[in-house]
Each structure stands twice: as structure tokens, then as C-alpha cells.
């Protein structure tokens, strides 16, 4: 933690200076190794901060002190946890640039091969960021629907009228949360939104209602764009460096790419975005490598969640708050369907608790989603900067 991770300046200048220096190969390589080691340690530490319970794969030595700074109260995939994840990503990114600045591009043709691949991944990550920003808007819509249900179910005495109103909001909410595919969308449908979608208006835009259910947050990136496919394309040429390359400058590029892909994968799993509902295949992270173990652990846990959700319904939208919202939403829906006026007093108390919990989630989302969205935009801009810097490094590298 002693080293500055907030290295913001252009590492380009450092590179060009270094390139003109006559440094002995050995000294240079030694320095590179140090940098690499530090970078790996940084990634390992920061990622283990994100896991509350120690992982079986985890080598405990390096993470013990880091655990002190963690936020054990944030459950995995919750909005605060996702925010931490993005913080971790940003800090790894800054560290990566520092590492890269010490390498000599002109002396490493392999680096000249992997950097363009990384640029390509960054580009895809940019689109994913945009899709996630939009996906967060659809979560915000879910929140608004949940609030309608909360308002309705807070009415006392609880009557058929407010239950009807709540039921309508819950139906849209559950469709939006992708939870209730089998439910006929017309049943108890709201006055216009559902009816409008089912009556065949000529201006329905493709398949977007399938994407995020009730929301009109559909093709946001471009036609035929798919978050799942982007992730797959990002890992397609991501190969663990072997032999001499494993200790060379290609390694940090590989690590950073893996981190980036993982973070994007988590975002896409957490936030519903264009065609992210298809189960995303696990990423090929090297379990045995120290830096990756915490990341692998995170991935496995989310992978399990994903499988569970997939079995139940479409998958996608694993955000912890959404899942809780869905669970409460389903039980409230259940209550609403059984409801007979006048309300049973005991049941009224139980429902009131659930409604309070729902309200609590909504309140948390109100600020949290805004902040998360802002942070994703920040990641976007950070990646744009990195891309520009890598491009200029490649431009400056003399042709071999």
C-alpha cells in the first residue's frame, strides 16, 4: 500500500525517456520482474478485499492485512459491493499503467502483439459500460414500480383497491426483473403499458420487450449487439503467457485484461443489459496463479448464483438488491393474490414488514444506482484514456 496507485500522468513520457536510456538488460529485466511481482500482489490483495469469507484457493499470507480494509457488511453483488469492485478495477488499472511505463516496447515484439488485442478488449468494454449504464436505468424503473407497490400496500385499512394497484405494479416489476416469465403479461396488466405492448402497435421496436421485460430499455448499444457475445469475444484470444513470456511485459497485459474481462462479466451478470440474460460461460482464469485466486473465487460464487437463477428463470440481473426485490415482490404478489377483504390482522403485520424491507431497498437504490452509474461512466472515461495512451505508445514504437 506504500506505493502510489493514483498515478495519473501519462506514462507515455516515461516510456520515451526510458527508451532513450541505455540501461543494462539485466538491470532492466530485474526491474521489470519487480514491477510485475508488485502488480500481481496488488491485484491479489485488492480482489481479496472483495470477498468476505476466505476462499479455499486463497493463499492467506498476502491478504490478511488487506482484509482489515474490506467491507464485510456488503454482500456480494450488492450495489456497494459493485462499487467496491469498480474501485478495485480503477486501482488495478492505475497500477497497470505504472507497470507498463517501465517496459520497453521496442524491445518486445510480443508486447506489440498483445497490446492491440488489449485495445480491442478495451473497445468492447466501452460498449459494455454503455450497456450497463443503460441497464442501471432499467433497474431504476424497477425501483419506481416497487415504490408504487410500497405506497399501495402501506394504505390502511388495506383494501381491495390498493391491493389491485399493488398487484399491477408488482406484475410489471416482476416482469422487469425477469422473474416471472410464465405469468401471462395481460393478467392484471396495468392500464396502458402492458396493454399497449400486447396490442399489436406497428411501432414496436424489435425484441426489446424480451430484453428487460416491462421496461422500454432495449437496444441501447446497436442492432444485434449482445453483451454475452462481447464478453466471449474478449476472452477468445486471452491466452496465459507461457515460458519466458510469463515473466515478461506480456504478463501484466494478460493480468489486466483478465481483470477487465472479469469486472465486465460481473457487471453484465449483475445489471440487466442487452442480451445479458443468456448464461455467460465461465472465464478461463488461471486458478493456480496467486493473483487470480480471489478473482476466481468471486467468479465461482457468481457463477453458482447465475446457474441457480438460470434454472429458475432467464438469468441475468443478479444484483443483490434486485434479487431481494424479486423475492419480496414474489411473496407480496402471493399475498396480493390471496387477499380477501378485510385483511387478516396478523397477515397485515407480516406484509407491513415486507413492505418496509422493500421500501428500504428502494431507498438504498435511490442513491446507490445513481452513484454506480456515475462510477461506470468514470470507468468508461478511464478506459478511453488508457486506450489513447496505449495507441500513442504503439504509434511511437519503431517499426521492426
Amino acid at each position: 500500500m506504500a506505493r502510489p496507485t493514483e498515478f495519473q500522468g501519462s506514462f507515455l513520457s516515461r516510456i520515451s525517456i526510458r527508451r532513450n536510456q541505455i540501461v543494462s538488460m539485466d538491470v532492466n529485466h530485474e526491474h521489470e520482474l519487480e514491477e510485475l511481482e508488485y502488480f500481481q500482489k496488488h491485484v491479489a490483495e485488492r480482489f481479496s478485499e472483495l470477498i468476505t469469507s476466505p476462499s479455499p484457493h486463497h493463499s492467506s499470507s498476502s491478504s490478511s492485512d488487506a482484509a482489515a480494509v474490506s467491507h464485510p457488511s456488503d454482500p456480494i453483488l450488492s450495489i456497494p459491493w459493485l462499487q467496491n469492485l469498480l474501485d478495485v478495477f480503477m486501482s488495478c488499472e492505475a497500477e497497470f499503467k505504472a507497470v507498463l511505463s517501465t517496459t520497453q516496447i521496442s524491445k518486445s515484439p510480443s508486447l506489440e502483439r498483445v497490446l492491440p488485442e488489449m485495445l480491442d478488449r478495451i473497445l468492447k468494454a466501452l460498449d459494455l459500460c454503455n450497456a450497463v449504464v443503460n441497464g442501471i436505468d432499467s433497474v431504476r424503473q424497477s425501483r419506481r414500480l416497487a415504490e408504487i407497490a410500497v405506497t399501495a400496500l402501506k394504505q390502511r385499512p388495506l383494501c381491495d383497491g390498493s391491493v389491485r394497484r399493488a398487484k399491477r405494479a408488482l406484475t410489471s416489476l416482476l416482469i422487469g426483473l425477469n422473474a416471472d416469465e410464465r405469468r401471462d403479461r395481460n393478467s392484471g396488466g396495468s392500464g396502458c403499458s402492458n396493454q399497449r405492448r400486447t396490442t399489436s402497435r406497428s411501432w414496436s421496436f424489435g425484441t426489446r420487450s424480451n430484453v428487460t421485460g416491462g421496461g422500454s430499455y432495449g437496444q441501447v448499444v446497436s442492432k444485434n449487439w449482445s453483451a454475452t457475445k462481447q464478453i466471449q469475444a474478449m476472452v477468445a484470444n486471452l491466452v496465459l503467457p507461457r515460458g519466458a513470456e510469463a515473466s515478461g511485459p506480456v504478463m501484466p497485459v494478460y493480468i489486466m485484461s483478465s481483470v477487465m474481462v472479469l469486472v465486465m462479466w460481473v457487471l453484465v451478470a449483475a445489471v440487466p443489459c442487452q442480451t445479458s440474460s443468456v448464461l455467460v460461460a465461465p472465464l478461463p482464469l488461471p486458478k493456480h496463479q496467486n493473483w487470480a485466486s480471489a478473482a476466481v473465487n468471486i467468479q465461482e460464487r457468481i457463477g453458482e448464483e447465475l446457474k441457480r437463477k438460470e434454472k429458475r428463470c432467464g438469468g441475468g440481473g443478479l444484483m443483490e438488491e434486485m434479487q431481494r426485490m424479486e423475492k419480496i415482490g414474489l411473496s407480496l404478489m402471493d399475498f396480493a393474490e390471496r387477499f380477501r377483504y378485510p385483511a387478516d390482522e396478523e397477515e397485515e403485520v407480516v406484509v407491513a414488514e415486507k413492505v418496509d424491507e422493500m421500501e428500504e431497498i428502494c431507498r438504498g437504490m435511490e442513491v446507490g444506482l445513481e452513484d454506480l452509474q456515475r462510477q461506470v461512466r468514470q470507468v468508461f472515461h478511464r478506459l478511453v484514456r488508457s486506450r489513447i495512451e496505449i495507441v500513442s505508445v504503439l504509434d511511437q514504437a519503431p517499426a521492426i
Binding site: L126, N130, P157, G161, R165, V384, R387
Partner: protein, 639 residues
């Protein structure tokens, strides 16, 4: 409660007593925390007693309550009748709508009345209350539908005819060798042409104003019944969809960053053109009207109006921002300058509108995003502009340009520069703080226009200076001094003509033009000297012998043949310049030759003279015509 109670007519003495008892009991129960169990029991017994009494009584006597019940039943019936009715109340007529709102008011009155009373009323009252809540919910749902349908049926679009964006128009085509930008293209490629029409549509209505009172009535009713959230949700949904649909009408496709980076130049050029138009229409016309609509309908609830407006516009705004961000990822190729310039220009222009659309904290992220994008576009445009000069400087040739004509680099650069005066303001602000060496450093002499000393003017002159050095280097490739002069003359002349005949004139200034005319005239002199002085020297006789004269005449013919053979393949595309050259050459050569023959023809003897003066005069006209091969066609002139 007051409202409700006032509608209960009091009838008969008994009723008074029952009412009073009822109220006392209710009041006691309402504050029953401190009552002991016995008293509570007593009260509830009494209450039961009274209520059965009450029902019986109502049936017989209480015309007041039954009046309310009747009204309530009618209200529910009216609301129910609209539940499945697919047409809108608006279509059905104002009285229909009024009756619906009256029915809603009646239901609401019942609800308010019950709510004001303590909770433990009798079963029948409870049922009425429950029915009322259902009726209210049905009414609200119906109004939600009404809102959506009316907004949808009466929406108005900014006329798409006026917005036709011909994204397919070609302009600058990128070409590594600068070959592509030719004179003809420029005629088509002037933008800014649709601006006037856009301004006509400022604040056009998105919805027919005739429906506004109705929609406001819906809003007020739903807000009064605490159905504000469903109202907003429905309103946002319809308006969002309308905007989305409008974006489709404008053919504003969504592109991913990957798309934008892979797109070929022509498609991207079209998409960028479209963006500049659409961004303007959306921010200056559509969203301004949308905001107005939100304020008209929800003006009494300011923060809700703002929140709805942002929710409606956010998605479209983000898609426009994303395209801008993606475009900035492209490398700064010179051919993109004009598009970047127009994108930057629009992005700077709409900032005022964006600030008006999102003035407060709620919309700050969108506002800031636009400001940042504009900054990014500014940087990217400046870089592209500066790279243009680098590209010119690094354009190297290995072989001399055929015929000494106008090099494609010259054409490209000058035609390119001709596009820029349209963006004078933008360029001046972008280049303000970027120093450049200028050939006209100070305000001196004949130039008085301030535009001649603007940052843009200095940069443009500097670009042309770079072009000139590049041309000088290309000229060095010619072995023939005369051809070198022709080449420079042609290119400088072209530059001057382009500047003189366009808006560039105000920027480059008269001094620049004068200097450059002088420069190509020097080349004309150089040409004449290097081609003709040695040849014409042959015609200067100094009392030579016949033999020497014959030899001189022969040498002249040979030299002239040689010039003819070469220089008919040279090119002077500017006809005026070519005519001038023909005349001045003709004057010198034919006069000298005529003098020479006049003095010596007899001594030399006719058979030793190959060309007459007329031959020479005619043949000189063939020079610089860029003929495909050395002519022997004119052999008829030979004897």
C-alpha cells in the same frame, strides 16, 4: 370530513339521537387506550346495538344516507362503464369526461369521509369503503389508459420533411495520396444548409394543445388520489416511446464503439453528418418542446416535472452522447476535419440549450456529459487540424510530377482550405492559443481586415507555407530547369486563384496574394530565360559568314524542334496563364526569328530555312497543351 358530512341531510329526531350516540361511542373508542375492559365491552355492545338499529333505521328513514349510496352506486356504474370502453373520453366529448371526473369525485368523497371517521365502523360501511377503493383504482387505471391514448393519438412530430438529412452525400474522401479532393466535389459539399428551417420549429408542440386541459385534469385527478407515481410512470413511458420513435424517424441509428471504429469513412461521414443535425433538432427543438409539455402538465409539481423530463429524455440523450464519445476514439485523420469541426461546432452551440434543459442538480450528469463531450471534440478537432499540416509536410514524392501540372496535393489542400471559412468562429476559438509561424507577421501595408490576422488566418497561411515547401521539394525532382519553373508557376497560380475566388481571400489578405502573384510571375521569367535565352542567342548575327548563318539557322531549328517535342507535353491547365505564356513567348521568339530571317534569308537561301515565321507562330501555340506524344502531325508545315 366536513365536505362529506355536509352532504348528510339530517332527518327526524330519532336520527339525531342515534347519530349522536354513534359519534360518542366512536369518539370514546378512538381514544380507548385508557378505557378499562368492562367499559370497552360495554361500548362495543352499545355500538353493535346502535349499528343494527342504524341499519334498520336507514332502510326506513334515512333518505340522506341512501342518497349518498345512490350517488355512489351511480358513480361506480359510470366508472365501470368506462372500464372496458376502448375509445377515449376525449373523443366522447367534454361532458362525458366531466361526468367521469364527477363520478370520481363522488367516490373520492366517500373515501375521504370514511377515512376521516375512526376505523371501527360497521361491516356495511366497511364494504362500501372497500368498494370505493376498488372503484377508485378502476378509475385511476382508466385515466392512465386515457392519458396514454390521448397523448399517443394527439402527438405531433416536428415535420420530418424539413429534417431530411442526406447522409449519403459525398464530400472529402480519404486517400493517402491526397488525390481525391477535386474541384467538382466542393460544389456539393457545403453544409449548414438546413439551419434556417430548424429555427422555424423552435418550441413546436409535441402534443396538440387542444388536449392539454384534459391531460392536466387527468394529472390533477391522479395526483389528488395519490396516484402520482403511476401517472408519472405512464407519462414517462408514452413520451419516451414517442421520442424513441422520433429518433427512428430521423434515422438516427445506434452504433456501438466497435461499430464506429470499424465503419468505413463514407458511412461514418454520413453518420457524423446525421449526428450534427439530430443533436441540434433533439436539443433545440424536440427536448425544448418536451420540457415545455412537462411543465404545462406538471407545472404545479416542479420537481416531479423535472424528474419526468429527465427520465423521458435520458435514453435518447445518452445514445447521442455515446456516438460522440465513440467518434472521438477514431484517430485524427485529416479528411475527418470538416466533420469533426461541424460536430464540435454543434456541440458548442447546443451547450446553452443543454444548460436550459437541465439547469439543476437532477440533470447535472447529463449537462456535464455534454460539456465534456464538447471539450473532447474540441481537442480532437484541433489535433486533426494540426495533423493535417504534418500530413502535408510528410507527403514525399520520388518521381517528378508528370507535365509540370497542378499537383494533387495542391488541389487537395486548397480545396480543403476552401471548406474551412464556414467554420471561422470555431476555428478561431480552437486555434486561439496555438502559436504558429506566419508569413505575414505584423499588420503592415495594404491589409486592413482584422480577419487577415485572426488565429485561423495565420494557421491557414502556415499550412500553405508547408505546402509550398513540399512543392519546392517536388520541384527539385525535375532535371529540366524550365519544367521546374512551369511546375511551380502552375501550382502557385492555382493557389492564388483558389484564394482569390473564395472566402479565403479575406483570410489570406491582399499582401499574401500580391506576393504569390509575384512569385509565379518570377517563375514565368525563369522559364523564358532557361528555355529561350540560349536559343534566341543563335539568332543574333554579327556579320557572320553565310556558312555560320546557315549553321545558326540549322541549330535554331533543331533547338526549336527539341523544345517543341518536350514542351507540347507539358501542361499549363489554366487557360489564361497558357495564353499569356503563348503571347509573351511568341512576341519574343517570332520577333527575333522574323528579324533574323529578314536580315539573312536571302544569304542563307530558302532551302536551308526549315520554318517560316508562321510555322513558328503556329507551333508555339502547341506548347503546354499536354499532348500525349511528341507530334509529327504538323509535318505538313515542314517543307
Amino acid at each position: 370530513m366536513a365536505e362529506f358530512d355536509s352532504k348528510v341531510p339530517v332527518s327526524g329526531m330519532n336520527n339525531h339521537v342515534f347519530e349522536a350516540c354513534h359519534h360518542v361511542v366512536k369518539a370514546l373508542r378512538a381514544s380507548d387506550n385508557n378505557l378499562d375492559a368492562n367499559l370497552r365491552k360495554l361500548l362495543s355492545d352499545l355500538e353493535m346495538h346502535l349499528s343494527t338499529f342504524g341499519i334498520a333505521d336507514t332502510k326506513v328513514e334515512d333518505a340522506g344516507f341512501s342518497e349518498i349510496k345512490k350517488r355512489f352506486k351511480e358513480a361506480v356504474k359510470r366508472i365501470r362503464s368506462w372500464e372496458t370502453n376502448q375509445s377515449t373520453m376525449f373523443e366522447a366529448g367534454l361532458s362525458e369526461a366531466d361526468q367521469f371526473f364527477q363520478a370520481l369525485y363522488d367516490v373520492q368523497t366517500v373515501l375521504v369521509g370514511f377515512k376521516a371517521l375512526p376505523m371501527k365502523t360497521n361491516q356495511m360501511e366497511k364494504d362500501v369503503y372497500n368498494q370505493a377503493t376498488v372503484a377508485l383504482d378502476i378509475a385511476m387505471l382508466r385515466l392512465e389508459k386515457e392519458l396514454c391514448d390521448v397523448l399517443h393519438q394527439h402527438k405531433r412530430h416536428v415535420q420530418p420533411d424539413y429534417l431530411a438529412v442526406s447522409s449519403r452525400r459525398k464530400d472529402i474522401v480519404y486517400d493517402e495520396s491526397f488525390v481525391s479532393l477535386d474541384d467538382e466535389v466542393i460544389v456539393e459539399a457545403s453544409s449548414h444548409e438546413d439551419d434556417e428551417q430548424i429555427s422555424d420549429f423552435y418550441n413546436s408542440d409535441l402534443v396538440d394543445p387542444i388536449v392539454l386541459p384534459h391531460i392536466k385534469a387527468i394529472a390533477n385527478a391522479m395526483f389528488a388520489c395519490e396516484y402520482d407515481q403511476p401517472f408519472c410512470e405512464a407519462f414517462i413511458g408514452v413520451q419516451r416511446e414517442a421520442l424513441e420513435e422520433y429518433m427512428v424517424t430521423l434515422e438516427m441509428e445506434r452504433f456501438s464503439c466497435v461499430d464506429v471504429l470499424r465503419m468505413d469513412w463514407e458511412d461514418l461521414n454520413g453518420a457524423m453528418r446525421k449526428w450534427t443535425k439530430v443533436v441540434k433538432i433533439i436539443t433545440q427543438v424536440y427536448l425544448a418542446s418536451e420540457k415545455q409539455l412537462c411543465d404545462q402538465i406538471l407545472g404545479d409539481f416542479e420537481s416531479i416535472s423535472t424528474a419526468c423530463f429527465i427520465e423521458i429524455s435520458k435514453d435518447a440523450i445518452l445514445s447521442l452522447l455515446n456516438f460522440g464519445e465513440a467518434v472521438v476514439l477514431r484517430s485524427c485523420k485529416p479528411e475527418m476535419l470538416e466533420r469533426f469541426l461541424s460536430m464540435y461546432e454543434v456541440s458548442a452551440e447546443i451547450l446553452v440549450d443543454v444548460d436550459n434543459l437541465f439547469p439543476d442538480e437532477t440533470g447535472s450528469s447529463l449537462r456535464i456529459a455534454f460539456h465534456n463531450l464538447s471539450k473532447k471534440l474540441a481537442d480532437h478537432t484541433t489535433t486533426t487540424f494540426l495533423k493535417f499540416k504534418d500530413a502535408i509536410a510528410s507527403d514525399e514524392s520520388t518521381r517528378p510530377f508528370h507535365g509540370g501540372g497542378i499537383h494533387h496535393l495542391t488541389r487537395y489542400v486548397m480545396n480543403y482550405l476552401k471548406l474551412l471559412p464556414e467554420y471561422t468562429d470555431s476555428l478561431n476559438s480552437l486555434l486561439q492559443n496555438i502559436h504558429v509561424d506566419d508569413s505575414i507577421p505584423e499588420k503592415t501595408g495594404e491589409d486592413v481586415l482584422p480577419s487577415t490576422f485572426s488565429p485561423m488566418a495565420r494557421h491557414l497561411r502556415s499550412i500553405v507555407t508547408t505546402l509550398e515547401s513540399s512543392l519546392e521539394r517536388k520541384a527539385q525532382l525535375y532535371a529540366d530547369e524550365a519544367l521546374k519553373s512551369i511546375f511551380l508557376m502552375n501550382n502557385f497560380r492555382y493557389m492564388v486563384q483558389k484564394v482569390k475566388g473564395s472566402e479565403l481571400r479575406r483570410l489570406f489578405g491582399d499582401e499574401w496574394i500580391r506576393k504569390h502573384i509575384a512569385s509565379y510571375q518570377r517563375n514565368v521569367t525563369n522559364y523564358e530565360r532557361s528555355t529561350w535565352s540560349s536559343i534566341l542567342a543563335l539568332l543574333r548575327d554579327n556579320n557572320d559568314s553565310v556558312r555560320t548563318l546557315r549553321e545558326r539557322c540549322r541549330l535554331f531549328s533543331l533547338a526549336f524542334d527539341d523544345v517543341y517535342k518536350n514542351q507540347t507535353r507539358w501542361s499549363v491547365p489554366d487557360s489564361e496563364l497558357r495564353d499569356d505564356l503563348h503571347i509573351s513567348t511568341s512576341v519574343k521568339v517570332v520577333q527575333s526569328y522574323r528579324g533574323f530571317l529578314g536580315r539573312n534569308a536571302v544569304r542563307i537561301g530558302e532551302k536551308h530555312i526549315r520554318y517560316t515565321c508562321e510555322d513558328i507562330e503556329n507551333m508555339l501555340l502547341d506548347l503546354f497543351e499536354c499532348l500525349p506524344s511528341p507530334r509529327s502531325l504538323r509535318s505538313s508545315r515542314k517543307r
